[in-house]
């Protein structure tokens, strides 16, 4: 029997349309159970993932398998590249946001103000709410209600390469404690032809995140209540510090390794010191286990207070998703319940799959008992660095951009820090007069 041209075209059109139609029917799984989608950047593991990535992917997969085995509504993991990227924004703009996703504090204000974050408090025991560390939890709450559950706390510190220091004839006692010592230390590295100090140089949320502690150490802040505190001596000093690092050549203008990867930078001899997060410990453990490195707290200005920024991502549920209640319950079940499994899951994530400070007191205690913080560097983070931490701010984009431009102009264009601090302060002030939304922290 011959196939007519019309039927051939019809079949072709059907074949082309099928994937599009099927992709629009994501609310039911093949088994007929309701399905919610969880966007994150860990699982399923991309092909060729490094050992630490595989561990993290396994944690996510196990968590979802455990849920799916005991609940009627299934969760499906969908890998997306680092969230905060256009994919998430576009999905929400099109009314197709995922049911559950990971959110950083930097994006919290936008998504909360957009009304897409489901409240999690109704599904949490009060004891569990208190179990989360308050300084870190503050940027995930609004009016005392919880909208995101952190899966980790990631303080920043300076990682250094022992071989590089040895080669430059520098000892641990030479590690800098103050900004002046830091600049001297950089000069010594430079003059002894040692690899430089790596500070994030690419404009973006991450660069701001790593710069904020230097601002806070001076006692200054970007936003104080309803006004900007940015036009301050502290902001000028912090801008000047990073400017000096670049202009004097003790830190490179562009990173020789992608994504400020400390393992690649220190491990391959491109850097002696790298401003980086606690996650670097597990990255070393899985990728370069024999490499000798150490950490020291971020140097402080004369008379300043030790401060670091506490980063990390949180599970959030889409209030406009297919089933916000179940999505919220999943977040709480996974990370925020007082059940033993929930606490253990946090411990496993923070001490096995990754190397983070557990965001819950119970999980941190359990992690310590299990030896998760026995490694000298992890111990230093947990005992010395974490207590000096402040949660990553949830500044709206305009505030972030004003600060970011000030940092960049000072670093790369040699702009006057005082003028840049004033410009950014004025921009923030102008914005705050018309800002309506969640309290800026």
């Amino acid at each position: 029997m011959g196939i007519s041209r019309r039927s051939l075209f019809g079949a072709g059109a059907g074949a082309l349309a099928a994937p599009a139609l099927l992709s629009g029917c994501g609310s039911a799984s093949a088994s007929g159970r309701k399905e919610l989608v969880f966007w994150q950047f860990y699982a399923p593991t991309p092909v060729g993932g490094s050992p630490d990535v595989v561990k993290q992917s396994q944690w996510f997969t196990k968590m979802v398998d455990d849920w799916n085995a005991t609940h009627e509504t299934r969760i499906r993991l969908e890998y997306v590249t680092v969230l905060g990227n256009p994919k998430l924004a576009t999905a929400f703009a099109a009314g197709e946001g995922p049911d559950i996703f990971l959110l950083s504090p930097g994006d919290f204000a936008r998504y909360y103000n957009g009304g897409v974050l489901a409240e999690l408090t109704p599904y949490m025991e009060p004891e569990a709410v208190k179990d989360f560390f308050a300084p870190n939890m503050a940027t995930r709450t609004a009016d005392g209600k919880v909208y995101g559950l952190p899966m980790e706390i990631e303080p920043l510190a300076m990682f250094y390469s022992e071989p590089a220091l040895t080669k430059a004839h520098l000892a641990e006692s030479d590690l800098p404690r103050t900004w002046d010592e830091f600049l001297d230390f950089g000069d010594k590295l430079k003059s002894r032809k040692a690899p430089p100090i790596m500070l994030p140089s690419q404009q973006g949320y991450y660069q701001n995140f790593t710069w904020y502690p230097f601002l806070w150490q001076t006692g200054a802040d970007a936003v104080r209540g309803n006004t900007s505190g940015f036009d301050s001596a502290g902001a000028k000093a912090a801008l000047k510090l990073w400017q000096d690092c670049i202009q004097s050549g003790i830190t490179p203008r562009t990173s020789p390794v992608p994504d400020n990867d400390a393992v690649a930078a220190l491990g391959n001899g491109y850097g002696s010191v790298s401003l980086n997060g606690i996650w670097t410990v597990s990255a070393f453990k899985y990728r370069k286990p024999k490499f000798r490195y150490g950490v020291f707290p971020l140097p402080i200005p004369a008379g300043g207070t030790p401060k670091t920024a506490l980063g990390g991502w949180a599970f959030v549920a889409n209030a406009r998703g297919r089933d916000p209640e179940t999505a919220a319950k999943f977040c709480v079940w996974a990370l925020g319940s007082m059940a033993k499994d929930s606490i253990q899951r946090v411990v496993d994530w923070c001490t096995v799959a990754k190397s983070d400070i557990a965001p819950r007191a119970s999980a941190l205690a359990a992690g310590r008992r299990a030896g998760g913080y026995d490694h000298p560097v992890m111990k230093q983070f947990a005992d010395d660095i974490f207590p000096t931490g402040r949660g990553e701010p949830r500044y709206p984009p305009v505030v972030y951009k004003a600060i970011s431009d000030a940092i960049q102009q000072c670093e790369f264009s040699g702009a006057d820090p005082a003028a840049q601090a004033k410009l950014a302060g004025d921009t923030i002030d102008a914005y705050l007069t018309s800002y309506r939304g969640v309290k800026i922290l």
Partner: protein, 317 residues
């Protein structure tokens, strides 16, 4: 009566016998033309026309990216002209285009003139010059970024080998934009070279032969034969390269510089992207997009008018 006419008539007879009305040849041609054009017109209307209309409309709204639309009239446009970052971005874009478009034009034309010649391995050169054009811009951006990065980049090592200090190619606001221009010329030149080559091959060889007999040199031949006869092609290249360079290349910028350092490579297209997808300012980004369309329309209309639609002096002939 010709055989063809007889067969056409024979073919139409059964339909006439059934009472059907036969369409005239002109009508059938119109229908055929319409059917051939329909996919393109539909595609343009759906994927270019409609987004343009939506973009213009969104420019009058504050869009929060979560389904909230507030009509704000011309506020986005007022904000645009008071926004130093937008104005800086516009200035950077104009500077970029003023250097890039002539640079691209000259390099592409020079390459086309070169590969038009007959010499050994000319095919290899043609392929090599066009090769960057078939590579993804993301890959191109990554490769150049690795080549130009501080400390470890190929350029740094190469210059270091000759004891020449290397600048920070992508880390200096005074250099980064020109690096982007150079890389853009490098990847786009093959495409425009081919178009120039097609234009050159349309020029009859006899003209050059006569000019040679008359004693015209290479420069005179170029000036009096190639250049005038290449004007329609030049017009096309000038128009399309300006539009595509104004509105394209965001992938390269994203990978190589992310608009930095210190906004020195924040071209207007990158600024639109940033406003829409990083800050969620869809309304504002749309207003800037509409403004860019207006600039390009003015540019295109101006170019068409000045060159009489790319025919230049045809009207006088």
């Amino acid at each position: 009566m010709t055989d063809l006419a007889v067969s056409e008539r024979a073919a139409s007879e059964p339909r006439a016998a059934r009472g059907g009305r036969r369409l005239s040849r002109r009508s059938r041609e119109r229908i055929a033309a319409g059917l051939f054009l329909a996919p393109d017109v539909l595609g343009l209307a759906l994927f270019v026309g409609l987004p343009m209309v939506v973009c213009i409309v969104l420019g009058f709204f504050q869009v929060d990216g979560f389904g909230g639309y507030t009509f704000i009239g011309l506020d986005n446009y007022r904000r645009m002209f008071a926004d130093p970052l937008f104005l800086g971005s516009l200035k950077t874009t104009l500077l970029y285009l003023v250097v890039l478009i002539p640079g691209l034009f000259v390099v592409s034309l020079a390459l086309a003139l070169l590969i038009r010649q007959r010499f050994p391995l000319v095919g290899l050169f043609r392929g090599a010059f066009f090769a960057p054009n078939v590579i993804s811009l993301v890959v191109i951006g990554l490769i150049w970024k690795f080549m130009l990065t501080d400390q470890t980049g190929f350029m740094v090592r190469l210059l270091g080998f000759f004891h020449i200090p290397s600048p920070s190619w992508l880390g200096s606001p005074h250099i980064a934009l020109w690096v982007v221009v150079a890389v853009t010329i490098w990847f786009a030149m093959g495409y425009y070279m081919l178009i120039f080559l097609a234009g050159l091959q349309d020029i009859p060889r006899e003209y050059y032969e006569v000019a040679t007999i008359d004693g015209a040199g290479v420069w005179q031949q170029f000036r009096h034969i190639t250049w005038p006869l290449l004007k329609p092609t030049s017009f096309f290249i000038l128009l399309t390269s300006t539009v595509s360079m104004f509105t394209g290349g965001i992938d390269l910028l994203y990978v190589m510089t992310s608009g930095g350092p210190a906004n020195s490579t924040s071209l207007i297209i990158y600024y639109i992207y940033e406003q829409a997808f990083v800050y969620g300012e869809y309304g504002y980004a749309s207003a800037i997009g509409a403004f860019v369309v207006a600039i390009l329309l003015v540019w295109s209309i101006g170019l068409f008018t000045l060159t009489r639609g790319g025919r230049f002096n045809d009207a006088r002939d």
